[in-house]
């Protein structure tokens, strides 16, 4: 396997900043939504859609496509931004998030938005859904992969462990899951709310191939997906160590920005910071 070349890496890093700008902008305009868990998920989503997944925005229902399921549905702004950048729908739609008569609902809905595979928002369902897609792929002798992203707090849900057991039992090597391990959920630190550690050990005990990486390092993310794809006799879990609110200084590791949008002053600061980040990467704001 070859690593990402410098140019692609740079391009993706700049794109990740753009996605973060979209997120801040969308939530500011919608005056609601979940910035923290959207920002932490960005780098994995950008890497996945732009370098790993076999998908075509012009053929969103191609039976051979790779699928991505956002089980932590509240990170919808991140996914919507990535899908818009891919061309699944116009970027103008992003400005209409959460408005009446808009395709971009507060949480993803498969019926309304091209590129959305499953309706999520009630936590704990996505991995089970992914297993179903994987089983169908096996029956139909398809070679696609199913990617699914869970929140770390989401794994409090019992259904996640039903699905973890089933994916292992059925040896679903075509399932590649991620946990956005940002250590925060609404009521506080995940370890105070309902202890999750040791996350990697838990998944290993359920029979999964587990990788633990820096969830903001695009090179590491890229390599991890390739390693996971090579594992065919069991499902893979990539634990993405991330920072909630990543990229906006006052949102980072701040649980107050789980489900609260930026006000005008905060919005301006966020956009300045992100523009500065783009300039550092050698791109114009």
């Amino acid at each position: 396997m070859e690593s990402l070349d410098e140019n692609t890496l740079k391009k993706l890093e700049i794109l990740a900043v753009d996605i973060r700008k979209h997120i801040v902008e969308m939530l500011y305009k919608a005056k609601s939504g979940h910035p923290g868990g959207s920002l932490s998920a960005v780098d994995a989503l950008v890497t996945l859609y732009h370098t790993i997944m076999k998908q075509n925005p012009k053929k969103p229902n191609d039976p051979n496509r790779d699928r991505f399921i956002l089980s932590k549905g509240h990170a919808a702004p991140a996914l919507y931004s990535v899908l818009a950048e891919q061309g699944y729908f116009s970027k103008k739609e992003l400005n209409r998030l959460r408005r009446v008569n808009c395709m971009l609902q507060g949480h993803p809905v498969c019926l309304y938005t091209p590129g959305i595979e499953a309706s999520t928002g009630s936590l704990g369902h996505g991995l089970s859904f992914a297993n179903g897609v994987a089983l169908a792929g096996r029956l139909d002798k398809k070679t696609y992969h199913v990617y699914v992203m869970l929140g770390d707090g989401e794994t409090d849900e019992g259904q996640v462990w039903e699905a973890a057991a089933a994916a292992s039992h059925y040896r679903l090597g075509n399932v590649i899951a991620m946990i956005d391990r940002n250590f925060l959920q609404i009521d506080g630190n995940t370890e105070d709310v309902l202890q999750l550690e040791n996350v990697a050990d838990r998944w290993e005990a359920f029979g999964w191939h587990v990788l633990e990486i820096d969830g903001h390092d695009i090179n590491e993310i890229y390599d991890a997906f390739h390693e996971a794809k090579a594992i065919t006799n069991k499902p893979s879990m990539i634990v993405l160590n991330t920072v909630k609110g990543k990229g906006v200084s006052y949102m980072e590791n701040n649980v107050d920005f789980h489900g609260v949008p930026p006000n005008e002053m905060e919005y301006n600061i966020a956009m300045e910071e992100l523009d500065l980040m783009k300039e550092k990467l050698g791109a114009s704001a």
Binding site: S122, F129, N131, G132, Q159, A166
Partner: protein, 317 residues
């Protein structure tokens, strides 16, 4: 009617699944450690690679079925009615109803006549729960022949559906030919009558027919409706009953809250131009108990005697 021939609707389900599975490779079946009871084991034996044993993990079963459906499969997911609805309401709501997923939930052991296991296993709110969900079709076939036809229609119809049968062996009410014209959402007039309409579903259709024969001897002519589809309800037929008989009784092995009786009541209250004498027979807002099914149905007034008395009273008032 001669001595009743019996056939368990669960067996009709299992046999029909095998028949459908032979014709259509997209049919897949999921069960949660109850395949011997729900009879999905028949399909499992014929098509082991299209049968998914999910273990005692119903939530995962429902969402997995939705994933299969998203790839063009036609999943039938089965377990007891208690576990197939209340336990997994959120999964059904998000992954099936909201997403208009083509998953068919076929539940067995609905109602109180599961008997001795007690109220933990007696599902009397499933129809109410499923009726409340947008996009959901709700079915309760009454005998093996109708079950067979309804399972066939479920496979053809695109969209989420819920069907429930009881546990017990049941008399065969219909010849297969009689089912050729069966349509989902269209109730069946099984007996014509002028004085009272008894609208029943599932296990209670046979009981209503027993009552109809008893009422006949008392010179009360009862129209019997087999309302196999509770949602969408055949409102036209309900209004026709109101107009033609002026008295309506609903009978179901279910709570009177939210089920067939409630659906009929809503239709009458909003749409009937005729004053109607009306009564809902069913479980009146309480849990039941362990017991022999016949004893339970008698105690909770879901036997022919109770229906006969209710009809007599209603007509004489």
């Amino acid at each position: 009617m001669n001595k009743k021939q019996m056939k368990n609707p669960r067996n009709a389900y299992g046999e029909k699944l095998v028949e459908l599975g032979e014709k259509n490779k997209d049919i897949v079946v999921l069960d949660a450690d109850l395949s011997k009871s729900t009879k999905t084991i028949m399909f499992a034996k014929e098509f082991p690679n299209r049968f998914f044993e999910m273990g005692i993990a119903e939530a995962n079963m429902i969402s997995t079925a939705a994933g299969l459906a998203s790839c063009g499969k036609i999943p039938f997911a089965s377990t007891f009615a208690v576990f197939a609805t209340g336990r997994v309401y959120d999964q059904i709501r998000m992954d099936l109803a909201y997403s208009q997923s083509n998953v068919k939930i076929f539940a067995t052991h609905g109602g109180i006549s599961v008997g001795k296991d007690g109220a933990s296993h007696q599902m009397i709110e499933d129809i109410a729960l499923m009726r409340a969900l947008p996009n959901m079709t709700v079915l309760a076939p009454s005998d093996a022949t109708q079950t067979s036809k309804i399972v066939e229609l479920m496979a053809d119809h695109v969209g989420p559906m819920y069907a429930r049968v009881g546990r017990a062996n049941a008399p065969i009410l219909y010849e297969p030919e009689y089912m050729e014209t069966l349509e989902l959402g269209k109730g069946m007039i099984v007996e014509e009558g002028d004085d009272v309409s008894i609208i029943a579903c599932g296990t209670m259709v046979d009981t209503a027919l027993d009552a109809q024969r008893r009422l006949k001897k008392k010179k009360i002519s009862a129209k019997i409706i087999d309302m196999h589809t509770i949602k969408p309800l055949d409102e036209k037929l309900v209004l026709k009953c109101a107009k033609e008989t002026g008295h309506i009784i609903t009978v179901e092995e279910h709570s009177v809250i939210g089920g067939l009786g409630a659906a009929v009541a809503e239709t009458l209250a909003e749409q009937s131009r005729n004053p109607v004498g009306f009564y809902r027979m069913g479980i009146r807002d309480h849990f039941c108990e362990s017991g022999d099914p016949a004893d339970l149905l008698k105690k909770y007034k879901l036997d022919p005697t109770a229906i006969t008395k209710t009809a007599e009273k209603l007509v004489s008032d």
